[in-house]
């Protein structure tokens, strides 16, 4: 078993080196196109704006996908949290209360996912498909036709203010959370169990691990992160409406899968996800910079994802043959 893990690590390194080279090439390419923005760190970090909410949601998503689960409800959950924040603040003008309600909503929504998935063993794909509709519906019922854009001054500090005038706080938040998740996955015993869940759930169960509580906590954490992602989203686009999370679930999954996490579970790590998020961010912003914004981005993103998936599966099949 120990040898196997080492082999895997070797392989993942290769794929992620490829990703890293790809990311560097992208930055150089777009930098070269537009006056060498790479020499201006402010612009370089600006490449990551508008992508951080996806990045945040991709972090717990990585853990969930490693357990061979999936959470399709993240986008709706984020929209629901944002709408609750907007509605409560609009009604009470008390930001502390609104923030608490927002975070609580995210946690409760995630906990419902976790409860249903951990207790019933129903495929997470179906369960979160259902709660995706459910949360979107609740958000729509709360907001009706209103769009909540009334937020206190200084609320946008995550986006506007920057550490040393260079690094946006939302990027810092992402990096800090990413490190926490990385430590959790790589260095804690629960991280080992999470890997095990994806590889062989029964083996983990028979070794006396409380699978249900691990799954429940993972989906709850995912819900909590969704609430935080809604704050990040609102900080650069202060308009809470139900459809703001549409398609974000697909983008978060794209980031995770791009990073080399296998959708079948068991294989993957945080470094890959961070690279995946950065590649998506740079691609999106870079295409905008050279005047190819909008949906051409999704076409290129789709192509990149297909090529990466094929590359990854070719690598993996070769590895299997070697074993």
């Amino acid at each position: 078993m120990a040898e196997k893990t080492i082999n895997k690590k070797k392989f993942k390194f290769t794929y992620q080196m490829g990703l890293f080279v790809f990311l560097a090439a992208l930055i150089l390419f777009f930098g070269g196109m537009e006056d060498w923005i790479i020499t201006k760190p402010k612009v370089l970090f600006g490449l990551t704006e508008n992508i951080m909410e996806i990045g945040l949601m991709a972090l717990p998503m990585t853990l969930i996908i490693i357990t061979s689960g999936i959470d399709l409800s993240v986008g709706s959950n984020m929209a629901l949290s944002a709408v609750v924040l907007g509605a409560v603040y609009g009604a009470t003008q008390n930001f502390g209360l609104a923030l608490a309600c927002c975070l609580l909503t995210g946690i409760l929504a995630g906990a419902l996912n976790g409860l249903l998935i951990a207790k019933t063993k129903i495929a997470p794909l179906v369960m979160t498909l259902a709660t995706m509709s459910l949360y979107l519906g609740i958000a729509k019922i709360i907001s009706g036709t209103r769009i909540f854009s009334d937020f206190p001054d200084g609320f946008t500090f995550l986006q506007t203010s920057k550490l040393f005038g260079v690094v946006p706080y939302q990027f810092l938040l992402f990096i800090v959370l990413a490190i926490i998740f990385w430590l959790f996955l790589e260095k804690s015993s629960i991280g080992r169990y999470i890997r095990g869940l994806g590889l062989n759930e029964d083996a983990v169960k028979y070794s006396g691990v409380k699978i249900a509580s691990i799954k429940f906590s993972l989906y709850t954490v995912s819900g909590f992160i969704c609430a935080i992602a809604s704050l990040v989203y609102l900080s650069h686009l202060p308009a809470a409406k139900p459809d703001m999370g549409n398609n974000l679930n697909l983008q978060a999954i794209t980031a995770v899968v791009l990073g080399g996490t296998s959708i079948m579970g068991g294989i993957g790590n945080m470094t890959g996800t961070i690279l995946g998020v950065l590649i998506i961010g740079v691609l999106r912003k870079g295409l905008q910079l050279i005047g190819l914004g909008g949906d051409i981005y999704s076409f290129i993103l789709g192509l990149v994802l297909v090529i990466c998936l094929i590359g990854f599966s070719v690598f993996e099949n070769r590895k299997k043959m070697e074993l």
Partner: protein, 334 residues
């Protein structure tokens, strides 16, 4: 499945029968309290059911093989655009229908190739294809819109017999009966269930799973092409990205119909009742003057209830499967 002898009670209360009863109950309630039972109400209901029936049948086949197609919604928009583009140039129905079907088969074939040849899990492969489709829309002339469609296109969706039976529903039902016969008598369908139920066992008895999955994807493309015709010919404007996200409705219908998302089990009749129920709930929302946004919440609750029922129904059986797989895995690993 056949090993487990079912009691008479559970046979009577099979999922298809229960769903059928629910649909009937809904129908009666709606007819009494609303104007659902009028020509206009029934026509719009049947038009809704016509395309949902085709698309959900397609997804049922895919899901039985243990795969999934997230790109079904955007694929439908692609087919509809191709058909409308040709129809705008003056093509009659016997030209634009094959064009839609061909588009569906080609793009579903691409999905199939990525899934079978490159061994990419279907969930992520089709997820990527959603992005590709959305991108292709923007490359299309006029952003994937075709406006001012003439009678040669809209006649098909507009034709209604006896005041409440649309032509597209009749075609849809005929095709659906064809699928039912196919599901019952074709030797191919046994392979589909075998691949979804236990891929390794299927290989051992001489089934080529890649070939089966590929053919299933091609059939799906054909049916999605038909669904796009049924969906768009009722409109004068074709907007390719209007079907984005619709795959969730298709999957809902399949899941409500009792098909296991893990593959290997499911009946096409269940899907049909799932479609009837979903379309009826959608109409009910309108008749009770609930805003459209309630339908999302209701749809979510329906899926949760449906899968919970499935879980209670098959709870014991699933456990057996799991332990069997555990034994198998242990053997492979050891």
């Amino acid at each position: 499945m056949a090993i487990y002898k079912k009691s008479i009670v559970s046979r009577i209360f099979s999922r298809e029968n229960v769903l059928g009863l629910i649909v009937l109950a809904f129908f009666i309630v709606l007819s009494i309290f609303t104007n659902f039972n009028t020509d206009a109400g029934l026509t719009s209901y049947f038009k809704e059911a016509a395309y949902l029936l085709m698309a959900s049948a397609a997804l049922t086949l895919i899901i039985i093989t243990g795969n999934i197609d997230i790109s079904a919604g955007t694929l439908m928009g692609m087919c509809g655009y191709a058909a409308a583009y040709v129809a705008k140039l003056g093509a009659p129905f016997y030209l634009f229908i094959p064009v839609a079907i061909l588009t569906g088969v080609i793009f579903a074939g691409i999905n199939g190739i990525i899934v079978t040849k490159f061994k990419v899990p279907s969930l992520v492969a089709t997820l990527a294809m959603v992005n590709v489709h959305l991108g292709i829309y923007t490359l299309l002339p006029s952003g994937g819109w075709v406006e001012n469609l003439q009678e040669n296109f809209t006649d098909l969706g507009g034709t209604v017999y006896f005041g409440f039976i649309p032509l597209i529903l009749i075609i849809s039902i005929i095709v659906f009966i064809g699928i039912m016969f196919f599901m019952k008598y074709s030797p191919f369908i046994k392979k589909v269930y075998a691949v979804g139920g236990n891929k390794d066992a299927a290989v051992l008895v001489g089934v080529n799973p890649d070939k089966v999955v590929m053919i299933t994807f091609l059939i799906e493309g054909l049916l999605i092409g038909l669904a796009s015709i049924f969906f768009y010919t009722t409109k004068h404007i074709v907007q390719a990205n209007s079907t984005f996200g619709m795959e969730m409705t298709f999957i809902t219908a399949v899941v409500v119909g009792g098909t296991s998302i893990a593959g290997g089990s499911g009946k096409i009749m269940g899907t049909a009742f799932g479609v009837l129920l979903l379309a009826m709930i959608k109409r009910a929302m309108i008749f009770f003057q609930l805003q459209d946004y309630y339908s999302y919440a209701v749809q979510g609750i329906i899926i949760i209830v449906a899968v919970l029922i499935t879980f209670v129904e098959f709870g014991g059986k699933k456990k057996d499967n799991v332990s069997f797989e555990a034994i198998k895995e242990d053997k492979v690993n050891g």
